[in-house]
């Protein structure tokens, strides 16, 4: 009896130890996130106290005179992300439509698999392919054509160099595509078959069912999908660094070289010699971290709300 009680006690303390240890590992996740914020703020102090809020709106970036402003990088991040989203969202919508409504199951499986593999290819491979294969293709075939047809817009003027904002945006859209189309496919599949069949039964065409039933039904999910894709595109580093051209300049033309927050970091960090330069770069990182943090948190909260709503329904 006492032996059994002793054994029980030992088990209890071992159990508690086990639980504490796994809680500690969970705590680690929270600590890392807090640590990132803390370290980035701490190490960007010289730049923050020197430039203050002007850092966010200044376009000058001159390591020689020690003038640093983040606006060109922020602008480049926003523009390349915008291009990426405006291509990948409609594209993933119709791909999801194809996978769920049109393709025979075997073909849908194969195509869905191929699209998912796009996500498995590392960023740097996109960079190599983008710089040596896709950029020349853009400069020879796509950009002259765009210039001829839409050249009256300042967006498509200038020499077709291949590298630049537009190329970076297109490659980003490819990298985001698997994430957005996966979520959209899930959203499409969430719609109860009965609802769709009723619409078909009333004589609606596939597109009408998609637009008036499926999309209405899954609108919130689509919003969450775009947020997740957005978070991916904003922080992509290597592929963008290869093809964006890395120039601290804001140009009206999408053919021109530019930079993004991540590409500036990747390019200049190891060259940064003095303290101010380094802390300006770290403050850039802080800006990027805060942007993605907000996007991710919003996306998670949004998706969670939908899940709760779906549970109630």
């Amino acid at each position: 009896m006492t032996r059994l009680a002793g054994k029980k006690k030992r088990h209890k303390s071992a159990d508690r130890l086990f639980q504490y240890f796994s809680a500690l590992c969970g705590l680690l996740l929270l600590l890392v996130m807090a640590g990132i914020l803390f370290e980035l703020i701490r190490n960007s102090q010289p730049s923050i106290s020197r430039f203050g809020l002007k850092f966010l709106v200044s376009t000058s970036w001159d390591p020689v005179t020690g003038q640093f402003g983040a606006l060109t990088s922020i602008y480049g991040t926003l523009v390349s992300t915008f291009i990426a989203m405006s291509i990948s969202l409609p594209l993933s919508l119709v791909i999801a439509l194809f996978l769920v409504e049109l393709a025979p199951p075997i073909l849908a499986k194969f195509v869905g698999y191929a699209i998912e593999l796009l996500a498995a290819i590392p960023s740097i491979i996109y960079g190599m392919w983008g710089l040596f294969v896709f950029a020349p293709f853009m400069s020879q075939h796509v950009q002259p054509g765009l210039n001829k047809t839409l050249g009256f817009l300042p967006l498509f003027q200038g020499p077709p160099m291949g590298i630049g904002m537009l190329t970076a945006g297109i490659i980003l859209s490819l990298m985001v595509l698997p994430f957005t189309s996966a979520v959209m496919r899930d959203v499409f599949q969430m719609v109860p078959a009965v609802v769709k069949e009723s619409a078909f039964g009333l004589g609606a065409t596939t597109w009408e069912v998609t637009r008036k039933v499926t999309l209405r039904y899954g609108l919130q999910g689509l919003l969450g999908a775009s947020f997740l894709g957005l978070g991916r595109a904003v922080g992509e580093t290597m592929a963008v660094t290869f093809v964006i051209g890395n120039d601290h300049r804001i140009s009206a033309s999408l053919f021109a070289a530019g930079n993004s927050i991540a590409s500036t970091l990747a390019n200049e960090f190891t060259e940064a010699s003095d303290k101010l330069y380094l802390s300006a770069l770290i403050e850039l990182g802080l800006v990027l971290f805060l942007i993605t943090l907000i996007i991710q948190a919003l996306a998670q909260l949004w998706l969670k709300r939908i899940e709760k709503g779906a549970g109630k329904r």
Partner: protein, 281 residues
């Protein structure tokens, strides 16, 4: 609004169907294009020296990336040693004990962390380790990779453990097994292939990472003698060589790209097959 004629409606429907098939085709074309180009250009760089020799200056024959292969493997192993156990136990906490506020916070943090750009993790480890020790090191690189693995493994572990039926847990407890033994011996065994898949997924993900290594492991033309110094690795080598003006270095960058891509895609396809087998059961 006048109702549209049946003809326009069905015509438009056909158009959308056509467009969506084209869109799916576009996705596949790009995938094939990338894989094909990397394979065609990379295979020319693969010779004996590529795998066994350290790099040579531009223009000198016989250079390879053997030191980078070794460095990448060493950092991946160390990163897994740090990231896999912590990630799995974080996942255990979420699945077995995490039905409270703290668990919610950890779950939220892990989801958000999966979306944090890897270059930010690189910056963090730079501030944490490189600034304090005063030099770049393979340890810092491995730590950065481990931090990226952590939330991925925690998430997949939680999902996989959640799939294990509660009846299994209850039977183990009813037989007098202590809670920790129940988790480690019964639940882990039931979820084994799922856990392995999650770990491999995380390894595949970080083995192609470049941005977090730029400021931590940096790169080196020498054999990695210790991880306490800048350590050669494949991805940063690709970046440096591709940006160089030398043709032979660019050629080697293609070879290294093929190596990384082949490894990552093989891991991914392998995992999928494992998962499918599991679902069949």
């Amino acid at each position: 609004m006048r109702p549209k004629s049946k003809k326009t409606r069905h015509g438009f429907d056909l158009l959308v169907k056509f467009l969506s098939s084209i869109a799916a085709l576009i996705g596949i074309i790009f995938l094939v294009w990338i894989i094909f180009e990397v394979a065609a250009r990379g295979v020319k760089a693969l010779d004996w020296n590529f795998f066994v020799a350290p790099p040579t200056p531009p223009g000198t024959e016989g250079g390879g990336v053997a030191n980078a292969i070794l460095g990448t493997l060493a950092m991946l192993i160390l990163a897994s040693l740090i990231g896999v156990p912590t990630g799995i136990f974080a996942g255990v906490y979420l699945a077995e004990f995490g039905d409270n506020r703290f668990g919610e916070a950890v779950r939220f943090a892990s989801k958000v962390m999966m979306g944090i750009p890897s270059i930010i993790v690189g910056l963090f480890v730079y501030a944490l380790l490189v600034l304090s020790t005063g030099h770049f090191s393979g340890f810092a690189g491995a730590l950065a990779l481990a931090i990226i693995m952590l939330p991925i493994i925690a998430r997949t572990t939680e999902d996989m453990l959640a799939l294990v039926p509660n009846a299994l847990r209850e039977s183990a407890l009813a037989l007098g097994s202590p809670g920790w033994k129940m988790t480690l011996a019964i639940v882990f065994r039931a979820a084994r292939s799922g856990l392995i898949t999650g770990v491999l997924l995380a390894v595949a993900r970080v083995s192609g990472e470049t941005a977090p290594l730029l400021f931590t492991a940096l790169n080196s033309p020498f054999w990695p003698k210790s991880l306490n110094q800048p350590t050669a690795n494949l991805t940063v080598t690709i970046f440096n060589y591709a940006m160089s003006p030398y043709r032979d270095w660019q050629q080697i960058a293609w070879g290294a790209s093929l190596l990384i891509m082949a490894a990552v895609l093989t891991l991914n396809i392998f995992m999928r097959i494992v998962l499918r087998e599991r679902k069949k059961k």
